[in-house]
């Protein structure tokens, strides 16, 4: 069960990629892309999260059980966010009689 682990070279490349992405997201924030600014910032954050998770936290090399735990975490998070937003933004759809 002794699984493969990344080498020093892999760690270094991931680190350099993370630094570049951090610089990139900071730079892009100063360019007006309208709505896209938020999308790009969050996409870069997600990419950085994947790099840290897959390589620094060894998810790339992990067993299925660990990956299921991570997916379960995201699943419950998605439930929480989507249900809360569904509630908040659908409230105005139904007009309640004023008291």
């Amino acid at each position: 069960m002794s699984e493969k682990k990344p080498s020093v070279g892999t760690y270094t490349m991931v680190f350099v990629a993370l630094l570049i992405l951090a610089a990139l997201t900071t730079g892009i924030a100063y360019i007006n892309l309208g709505e896209l600014n938020t999308v790009v910032a969050l996409a870069i954050a997600a990419l950085k999260m994947c790099l840290v998770g897959l390589f620094f936290m060894h998810l790339w090399y992990s067993r299925g059980l660990i990956r299921i735990v991570v997916l379960a975490g995201f699943f419950w998070l998605a439930l929480m966010v989507s249900f809360v937003l569904a509630d908040v933004f659908s409230r105005s759809w139904i007009k309640l009689p004023s008291p």
């Binding site: 002794s2 682990k5 924030a29 840290v52 620094f56 059980l65 419950w76 929480m80």
Partner: protein, 235 residues
């Protein structure tokens, strides 16, 4: 398992460091490591929801009071935030290298890398508290000292900017608390490593501490754009 001597699995000559490090409920050191990692990942999944609650609140209120959140975001120092991001990414790198050194059984290198991670973590907190100090001077601390200059509101209602600053302090504060716990954890690991308690076979404690540290890094990876960047920095 059945071939090992019957009777108490606890007793018996612990000749190798492996059997000394192996707790009696596990069959072998690999299974013990797996269980340790699994436990930490389950904890991190609960942490995702713990932080997730604040993130959900942030998303909701940001959509409701966008102008206040944009004005509040403009009041934060992007240079400082970016510097903190670089420092924290570097600390994650030294942490990953520390686990690598622990696996290879390199004691001195492990202590060095753990210490570097701790120092980078402290540098991050120093910058964070510098920013808190600036916010106090700009009178942007909700509840205690909130009298922002009119131009810093950028036309947004004052209480919506205050709401943003509530999220700012709560999210970064919760993150800073995790950093402080992580620094404590890594200090214990550094002492254990220095005393030779971490071996090639038994380095799981360093490994799970690393998982925690990287998780805290990932939280900041999201906090940085959410708080500092996406309030319309351009123009």
């Amino acid at each position: 398992m059945s071939e090992s001597a019957a009777g108490s699995p606890l007793a018996g000559p612990s000749g190798h460091s492996v059997s000394a490090a192996l707790h009696h409920q596990f069959e072998d050191i690999e299974q013990q490591r797996d269980a340790g990692n699994f436990g930490m990942w389950v904890f991190l999944a609960t942490e995702m929801l713990f932080f997730g609650g604040v993130f959900t609140g942030y998303i909701m209120y940001r959509s409701l009071y966008y102008s206040g959140f944009a004005a509040g975001s403009h009041g934060l120092e992007v240079d400082l935030g970016a510097a903190m991001t670089f420092v924290l990414l570097a600390s994650s790198f030294t942490m990953a290298m520390a686990v690598h050194a622990a696996r290879a059984g390199k004691r001195v290198m492990l202590v060095g890398l753990l210490s570097s991670t701790i120092i980078l973590g402290i540098a991050f907190l120093a910058m964070k508290f510098t920013e808190y100090f600036h916010k106090w001077h700009e009178q942007l601390v909700p509840g205690l000292n909130f009298h922002p200059a009119v131009e810093s509101l950028r036309g947004a209602p004052e209480h919506t900017v205050e709401l943003f600053m509530c999220f700012y302090f709560f999210m970064t504060g919760l993150h800073a608390l995790h950093m402080i716990i992580g620094i404590g954890l890594l200090s214990v690991m550094a002492i254990l490593a220095w005393r030779g308690k971490i071996s090639r076979e038994h380095y799981n404690r360093v490994e799970v501490s690393g998982l925690y540290w990287h998780f805290v890094d990932i939280i900041w990876i999201y906090l940085f754009p959410l708080l500092y960047l996406i309030g319309g920095r351009y123009k």
